[in-house]
Amino acid sequence: MGDSRMEKGRVVGVDVGGTFTDLFLMDGATGEFRTAKVPSNRGDEAVGFLNGLRVFGAVADLGSIVHGTTVGTNALLERRIARVGLITTEGFRDVLEMRRRDRPKTWGLTGDFTPVIPRHMRREARERVLSDGSIRHAVNPSEVRALGEALLADGAEALAVVFINAYANAANEKAALAALAGLLPPDRLAASHEILPEIREFERTSTTALNACLQPVVGSYLAKLEAALAGEAFAGRFHIVQSNGGVMSTETARRFPVRTALSGPAAGVIAAAAIAAAAGMPDVITGDLGGTSFDVSLVLGGRAELAAQTTIDFGMVIRNPMIEITTIGAGGGSIAAVDAGGMLRVGPESAGSRPGPVAYGAGNMRPTLTDANIVLGRINAEKPIGGALKRLDREAARAAIGREIGDPLGLSPEAAAEAILRVANARMAGAIRLVSIERGHDPGRFALVPFGGGGALHAGALLKEVGLKAALVPRFPGVTSALGCVIADIRHDQVQTFNLALKGLDCGALSARMASEAEAARNVVERAGLPIEGVEIRFEFDMHYLGQTHTVAVPFKVAPAQTFTEEDVRQSFEAAYSQAFSRLLPGIGVKIVNLRTTAIGKRPAFDLAMLAPKAGGTLEAARRGERDVWFDGAFHATPILARLDLPADARIAGPAILEQPDATIVVDPGLVARVDSLGNILLERA
């Protein structure tokens, strides 16, 4: 049933963000699409979710729904999480609270830490596995059972088991799970080898604990959505986007809720990558400018770079492959200030979206980046994005910038606003350099893909400052994440620590283990039940020289069960190591620490041509008059155009402002904007 509907082809991507729920509907049969934006309902996201779907008519007529969510992340940040009992190896119950012995800030010694599982809910079992996988003490099932029962009596809604060296041998963890069976439903019982069979006990404990804490939260959220969908007679497929930018079944999401942590932002990167690739730009840097932060990701050859772990908050580490998103504290709400040493700073302190910029009139009196954009005429004060406010108070913003920045620096309010803009642009440029130059990539090869409401205000300045090739503004920058939900592939990542010396490597045995890892990952992808054109398996080793603790990711291009030699592995390692560092270390032994296995279920290609502008538009019809906008030290009468009315191939020389309901694009002097055949705006040097 689900598949036949899928063939009918009405797929909706739903990205539930903090302020808005964005939707993108694609009708594969008719080649039509629609977008929608409705307010999110913080605390009961299901309401916004359903309201959004109803914009498109009867929910029952939809074939499938793919959902990006930050419910998990928000629950962690706000500690709206389940009460979990943790069972550890004797002597190790405090690992979760001791972290890696870090502190929140390099300078300044204040700040406390509250672990997600309090100490009295962490109990110890007598068992021990050594680092070589040998069992020193087997598990005593009745002891573990008693610990589980005691934790339940103390209110545990879920139980997690983390034993030392379980990555090397999971037998004791498995025995413990067996002993706990029946105390709670299977999806409320987990052990670390199932979540992350990788060396480093804190990261494994933290990931397992956060997963357990989220299971009831994400599980009940999904149940609520499923019930609501059933109530609307929806009979199609319902899937979730994960932090790695791939789609998973709700069954997998229930098992691995930590994998939803960066679900929405990851979908945005996936969409940006696809849009850019279709436009002939496989190498791009995506930039999402939000209220408090600027998120940057690198896309190479159409593929987003992945990070091995992320920190949700101090001491809350999730280790799992996820789209690498570099965040700096420079967003629209970032506060500008002059410090006692006379230095102008923008961020990281932020007014957020509440109370927000001075111009929102909600009580904040300190100028923000958005205020600077308003004062300079770049943002239309009479038509705020999102529609929540009627108009913006430009005079209040101007007064605040004059008072806080202009007076101490001896600048007019406009010149001060321009200074704020330039400092903010420099910080964003720093983030772009971080992901490009710092990783050995020449920014001249890359286009910037700004998305979110604010990114396109700064794209032109950034392309000039960093020396990027161009900026590519998607046709609907405000719903990029929702679009990403529709086009993302199915994906499943696995890791296993091996700790094998390269010298004398038993390639046959390794190949067999790789085949079984691949089989397991493939099964997860195939069970997801979405139509796919095939499953691709990717292997990557984490390797290093003996004695190093950090590893280098070594892509290893073999098919499952294909034979290979020690020399093949060595060559792959040396290629990856030389790329990462300038010097190889001949004569020093090499080790394979981990195997990473990825299965990707390719979904049918999404034809982005459906987003292209309708024929018949003209540049003239898109004109909306002009207003004074400040560029390079003075106001200039600047044409305003309705972006969505622009025909393909239209060319607009800067300065110009292109407006659309979900974004504003600034075409700086010296740049030219061109509409490509897919409806994207390409900003390039004139």
Binding site: D102, P104, N165, D339, G341, M343, L344, E438, Y545, L585
Partner: protein
Amino acid sequence: MTRPDAVTLAVLRGRLEQIADEMDATLYRSAFNPIIAEARDACHGLYHAETGETLVQGTKGLPIFVGAMAFAVRAVIAKVKDEGGLEPGDTFLFNDPYDGGTHLNDFRLVRPIFRQGKLFCWLASVGHWLDIGGNVPGGFNARATESHQEGVRIPPVKFIARGVMNRDILSILSANSRLPQSNFGDLNGQLNALDLGERRLDGLLDEAGEDTVAAALDAFSEGADALMRAAIAALPDGTYRFDDILDNDGITDEPLAIALDLTVSGETMRLDFSRSSPPCAGPLNIAYSTAVASCYVALKHLFPEVPSNAGCLRPITFVIPETTLLGVKAPKPVGGYTETILRVIGVIFGAIGQADPSRALAGPFGTINALSIAGKRPDGSPFVMFSFFGGGLGASPAGDGLSHANNPISTATMPPAEILEASNPVMVTRWALRPDSAGAGAHRGGLGAIYEFEALTDAEVFLLGERGKGAPFGLRGGKPAALNRFFWQTEDGGEASPPLASKVTGVKLKPGMRVRLETPGGGGFGDPARRDEASLARDLAEGYVTPQGAARDYGKVA
């Protein structure tokens, strides 16, 4: 030179910090030994061409190095002045603690950056190498009475001349270490970092111009100077005294005084350590440069808003006589420098806490606990399991201290127990918070920890620690934290502790025998009687405080 505009300054500051950060990151990723790779015991920056003053520092570098590096660069400047012959492509290498601070394990690489034939600035890299010879594997010889027992000492030497590495020096280094391969890997990592820094800096100078960047660097120092003066001016004028002790010097069991008279006068501050103990026989001495560097660390923690460059030291005068253990010359042993600088930092916290209670920080756990377990693996290859251990931070007016943190001189993360076990024939039997280790107070300190290791083969154990006799202090009525303790199992089945509390060398372990380290928490802030009921109830429920501890420290019967 005219001061660049506010925008140029902000932009260049970001760009330059990014270069130093990127150098840090390069070394962390490519270093061999976990002290750098995991514990981040390293630092990089840009230094003034003539004065060696710190211009820009990575934001993640080890705090103590941030202050010490300028002295290291100055040592190279002095050498070049004497001997001449500085050329593009040169790189100097050394670890002399009397000429650039800290201890023998810290190897410094200093490279001139030339632009149009003229020296523009220096780049430097420092990292902690695992073993540099000496009587104790991994260094930290608690019984050293002269620097020669602590390891090999290399004065500033031109290790790379016009891009060509002097292999002879490499051979000398190799022959003087138990773990030459690890050192070689770290050296390569540091060179990677310098290469990268040089490329990035050249790129920036091409783009922005030498004059603009030089003027911006001056402006940063002026800005830090102004911010520091503003912070000092906000403190009431006066002299504030604060004294603390070190347990002993590792040789004779007598306490050593670290005594400070901090004088605030308008917008300047004087730090006078004259009342401190004279130089000691054991390794608890430090050189003048190390003492200044530790003052810098303390002030940066108390005034985190002041940027990291030399400007922030301009309003400060130092009185650190050679007649005290804080200003010694060669060959006085300095291998235990970490302990002494922690005490120097502590007394500054204490004195500022008197001047301005809102800035107060009660004593952090205050010992690095350099513990090594060394021996041979069953296959005959040597191993040295070496790490520093955590404890609690002091309470403040803002709240309780952080449990199991790193020391103020460090941003080091702890190697995972599983990595220690995978790399060494040891088994960790306990890795836990230590109840009742925090100083009681209206806000209590953070908790220290208990670590216990079992040898899986014959092994020898070395510890250089402190706070076994003088506990981390409380402030404003807050109580001191628990003392540091160390135990090992004896062959008769009993337990023993070092006569010198936290310093011991060469304890022999047979397979199956254990050692246990119990670290202090942080000091408390404010009268324990004023701790709110709910917080104390939580402390009891979580086992942070035992019922006996509550009765003793809070006068509460559970």
